[in-house]
């Protein structure tokens, strides 16, 4: 009888060694036999009809395999695709709608040849009037980007977009409770402010990269995609191929942030591979990825009424989102922004309308907490403005209006499952612990992740005791593999090092909706936990038949099964049960809205909550702002991998810092002027607060394994308003437009000086 393996307390990331040694494989590392390389010719104009597209000379270049253009689209099963509206052609057909839209894709033996061929393509445009802001897009005489709105229901997210015919509005979403107008009549104070949040880039360091290969009728796609099954589904519709014949494999992904969610360049690359009759690889540059998707910019006007004690009576909000040239998941962004602009407050009367509109700019898309940072920027900035105007401490004003745990932000949503007041107290304490007194600015947030509870997994316990977990959750850097490994290790009582998390692969792995909306820890966590439990049940059943006396008080121990002092390795259990020194046990599970013991019918499955507190220092002569202290607090239920969870919170806060201080995709006359990694500024290590702390609240009350809630998006929410509130408190200037650039701060300081004299 062999010994049990020693316990293993290794909690390092599952992908640590692969990543630090450069061994981790990304989509751009994939090479397949006969593979050709694609480069994309992009529109240089914001809105135009293509009057001539001549690829004759480019096609004749030695080494060019083929050139895909709009003419090739006629043979597709479905020419236009989308997630809410079928509005996007696989490649521009006779019209371009934004600078950067693909108009031709050259496939060549080498990248260099493809690149050279781009210069030989002749294209003429008949320019059309364009709109590069949402305000211009809803003007009465605005050019309309899309003649028809083909809305599709429950395709990716639950629900259907409500476009307005004959306009650029592709989504209108309202929330209405009580009677806001009547409440305003009784109010002691009404405040109206408008805030703006610009379109910003995801700026994942790994750009979009796809390899597509046909083998007969079978299509294999390697893509750094966050939602492999959504890619599979859209490709099936566009190319008329059965889902079973489409295999999506996702290697490691170098950052997603929503920019690789749903479907991006996969249909384009597959169309090129189909025409070329060869595998095709397209790896964008980071600048091209910046022309592929971005966060939706927003203009938000809030009318908030209060009684004389500072109790909010009503809130009316209009949210206008700049959705870019194609809707993508913009309709969901609008709906979430409408929820997220309420805040964790008890407000009886709400009248909120969100509109998302087409503009001749880079398509908007999901981005870490969709609609959240925009909405929270407005709401939490205004809370401080109201507090200031009413002479109430901003924390006190929030406390007078916060919902308690169990309170309802909307009666259609699950009651709040966190204590925001307690979180504020912890933020206060943590920032005091950093020295130099209380915070100068805080902001709070509660958002409802749009989680579809649908995802499965397999846990295969192999003969030597090594374990493969098959899950379509994508490791986009957030560390999901580490979390899943931990869940399986706990459930099976095995060493984490004996567990491999396989690459997502739709041909071998059960359906999962996708990686986003902070859902993987909960949904895939439960799926692998259930699958591991299923494996455990099967192994113990096998073992009870092979131990002497068929005992039923067996337990799993590292490497095998134990009964009292007796230990059998898995190999021996299988050997005795199967009659051969081989075999495996496959545990399987599918989490659905009706999962036993779960209450998944009501949204959200949990609330993603955040409090941010900070202090700032401004060089008043120059206008540069630095965050001197920052504290983030999140209620995560349980941190399965504490250092990974802190990393997610802090990474989100740093990304939020970029939104707060630096980032804005700028357009001048329909042209993106800073959509390159040289011109676009994201935070660097020197920009981060030198004194910072993250507090994770763990009450074990989440729906996921070990009481975990999802997390990773909340930390981005409070950063910008907390900083703006600190700026207002310390320096007496209120800025309602992001980012808080040095020039804006300098101008506000000068205006303050002028006003004072």
């Amino acid at each position: 009888m062999r010994k049990e393996s020693p316990p293993d307390n290794n909690t390092a990331r599952a992908d640590l060694i692969d990543k630090v040694t450069g061994g981790a494989v990304y989509a751009s590392d994939i090479r397949v036999p006969r593979m050709a390389h694609g480069r994309i010719l992009r529109s240089a104009v914001p809105h135009a009809r293509i009057t001539r597209l001549d690829v004759t000379e480019a096609s004749a270049l030695d080494g060019v395999v083929t050139i895909l253009t709009g003419e090739d689209m006629a043979t597709l099963a479905q020419i236009h695709w989308g997630l809410f509206l079928n509005d996007r052609p696989v490649i521009a057909i006779d019209k371009v709608r934004y600078v950067g839209e693909p108009v031709a894709l050259v496939v060549a033996e080498t990248l260099e040849i493809a690149e050279a061929a781009l210069d030989l393509i002749d294209i003429d445009y008949e320019h059309l009037p364009f709109v590069d802001t949402a305000a211009a897009a809803i003007a009465p005489d605005a050019p309309v980007l899309h003649d028809v709105h083909d809305a599709i229901a429950d395709f990716y997210f639950t629900g259907q977009a409500k476009p307005v015919a004959g306009t650029n509005i592709f989504q209108k979403f309202g929330v209405s409770t009580g009677d806001a107008t009547a409440a305003e009549c009784d109010a002691a104070h009404i405040f109206e402010h408008t805030y703006t949040f610009p379109g910003v880039s995801h700026f994942a360091l790994e750009p979009h990269s796809v390899v597509a290969a046909f083998e007969g009728d079978d299509l294999t796609v390697w893509s750094g995609a966050q939602s492999p099954t959504a890619v599979q589904k859209v490709l099936s519709r566009v190319f008329g191929i059965a889902v079973a014949n489409i295999r999506i494999i996702v290697p490691f992904v170098g950052g997603g942030f929503g920019g690789k969610a749903s479907v991006k360049i996969e249909p384009l690359v597959v169309a090129a591979a189909r025409k070329a009759g060869r595998p095709v690889r397209v790896t964008l540059t980071l600048a091209e990825s910046m022309l592929t998707c971005r966060r939706l910019g927003a203009t938000m006007t809030l009318h908030t009424s209060l009684d004389k004690t500072g109790k909010i009576l009503s809130k009316r909000a209009t949210i206008l989102l700049d959705g870019g040239a194609y809707a993508d998941t913009g309709p969901a962004v609008a709906a979430k922004a409408a929820h997220r602009i309420i805040g964790p407050y008890d407000i009886a009367n709400l009248e909120i309308e969100a509109k998302a509109v087409y503009t001749n700019t880079v398509p908007g898309a999901a981005f870490r907490s969709i609609g959240g940072p925009q909405a929270v920027w407005a709401t939490e900035s205004q809370m401080d403005e109201i507090a200031d105007a009413m002479g109430i401490d901003p924390v006190e004003l929030r406390r007078r209006n916060l919902l308690p745990r169990g309170g309802e932000i909307l009666d259609t949503l699950r009651p709040l499952d966190a204590d925001i007041g307690d979180m504020i107290g912890r933020a206060d304490q943590a920032i005091m612990n950093l020295g130099d007194g209380a915070a100068a600015g805080i902001a709070v947030a509660a958002t409802d992740p749009g989680i579809l509870p649908l995802g499965g997994a397999l846990v295969r316990v192999l003969v030597d005791g090594s374990i493969i977990v098959m899950s379509n959750s994508v490791d986009i850097g957030q560390g999901v593999r580490t979390v899943l490994r931990e869940v399986v290790a706990k459930m099976l009582n095995q060493n984490p090092n004996s567990i491999q998390i396989a690459n997502p692969d739709t041909s071998t792995t059960p359906f999962d909706w996708g990686t986003g909306a902070s859902r993987s820890t909960v949904i895939m966590g439960l799926a692998v936990e259930d699958a591991a439990r299923d494996a455990s049940d099967q192994i113990l059943a096998l073992a009870s038949s092979v131990f002497d006396g068929a005992p039923n008080d067996l337990r799993l121990v590292p490497g095998g099964v134990a009964h009292g002092d007796e230990f059998l390795p898995f190999q021996d259990v299988y050997h005795r049960a199967f009659g051969v020194d081989s075999g495996e046990v496959v545990g399987r599970a599918m989490v659905t809205p009706t999962r036993d013991g779960s209450d998944f019918k009501k949204s959200p499955l949990f609330w993603e909550t955040a409090v941010g507190a900070c202090d700032v220092d401004v060089d008043q002569e120059i206008g540069t702002l630095s965050v001197t202290r920052y504290v983030g607090v999140a209620d995560v239920g349980h941190a399965i991998n504490p250092s990974g969870a802190e990393g997610q919170e802090e990474g989100a806060a740093v990304q939020g810092l970029g939104h707060a201080l630096f980032e804005r995709l700028d357009y001048v006359d329909g042209q993106p002027v800073n959509a390159t990694p040289i011109a676009y500024r994201v935070p660097a290590i020197g920009d981060i607060a030198k004194r910072a702390h993250t507090v994770l609240i763990e009450n074990g009350d989440g729906p996921g394994p070990m009481g975990a809630k999802g997390m990773g998006e909340g930390g981005i929410l409070p950063v910008a308003p907390a900083i703006a509130n600190a700026l207002a408190r310390r320096y007496g200037i209120r800025i309602r437009d992001l980012p808080l650039t040095p020039e804006r701060i300098w101008r506000a300081l000068r205006k303050r000086g002028d006003d004072a004299t």
Binding site: E621, I622, G623, T676, E743
Partner: protein
């Protein structure tokens, strides 16, 4: 270089050139790789001249004992330019010859009164750093010429470079070289605000006339000089804000240089 003079570029660190070529802003059929000429990297001091090889990288200059002894302001600047990757491969000569309007070293080298030594098949040619750059991406270097070295006079001056940087981009930079002997002329240069570095003559005269006075008169002199300049307006800073920043960094550079009495 002479043979391909209509379609050739010297290639050293490549931090600007390769980027420009990748983005199709520049297109050369021929590149001459200078990295194989070690002589172009040497930094030596001969009497009161520091001779700085054109291929010395920013990182080398930042760590060089001769530089830190003779012109510490240049070492300090080179230690903080751009990012570590650029500092490790980018060269001082490339920086000058590319003449990117946002580059800092040309501003400081002009204030240091450095001389540039260029060479071609036609012979050697000396140009003052203060005259070398004539516009955005434009210099007096002929297509067949190579910049060999930069000769920096070591003088009894207090030297200071001050700048405002957003991300990796300098928004305004100013260099002040104030002689310890008030009889000698100060050199005050500003850059990164227009097409190329510019001297501030009113300010220089004011300092000469009022060596101990850093008052409203100085502020006025700086504003007078900078008021005459064409200042770029872009997404980082509009012209009036950048003008203010240029005035601010100029005053800060002069104040800091004037405060450093007694240090080299």
């Amino acid at each position: 270089m002479a043979r391909y003079s209509d379609d050739v570029s010297p290639y050293a660190g490549g931090t600007e050139l390769l980027l420009a070529m990748k983005m199709h802003f520049a297109d050369y059929q021929h590149l001459v790789d200078l990295k194989r000429i070690p002589e172009l990297r040497t930094i030596i001091r001969r009497d009161d001249i520091v001779s700085l090889g054109a291929l010395a990288t920013h990182a080398t200059i930042a760590d060089d004992a001769i530089i830190s002894g003779a012109v510490p302001a240049l070492g300090a600047l080179c230690s903080s330019i751009a990012n570590a990757r650029v500092r490790t491969s980018g060269t001082i000569g490339g920086n000058l010859c590319f003449a990117e309007p946002r580059a800092d070293p040309p501003v400081l080298l002009a204030a240091l009164d450095a001389q540039l030594v260029l060479k071609s098949a036609r012979g050697e040619h000396h140009i003052s750093a203060s005259q070398f750059i004539i516009g955005a991406l434009e210099t007096l270097r002929a297509p067949d010429e190579l910049l060999l070295r930069i000769e920096i006079p070591v003088t009894a001056c207090n030297i200071r470079y001050e700048r405002v940087v957003f991300g990796h981009r300098t928004i305004a930079g100013a260099a002040a070289a104030i002689p310890k002997d008030p009889a000698n002329k100060p050199r005050i240069w500003v850059g990164c605000i227009g097409t190329h570095p510019t001297s501030l003559p009113t300010t220089e005269r004011y300092i000469s006339a009022n060596p101990a006075s850093l008052d409203d008169g100085l502020t006025h002199a700086i504003a007078t000089d900078i008021g005459t300049l064409d200042i770029v307006s872009d997404e980082d800073a509009s012209a009036d804000y950048r003008r203010h920043l240029a005035e601010t960094v100029t005053r800060r550079a002069i104040t800091a240089a004037a405060d450093k009495k007694g240090t080299p």
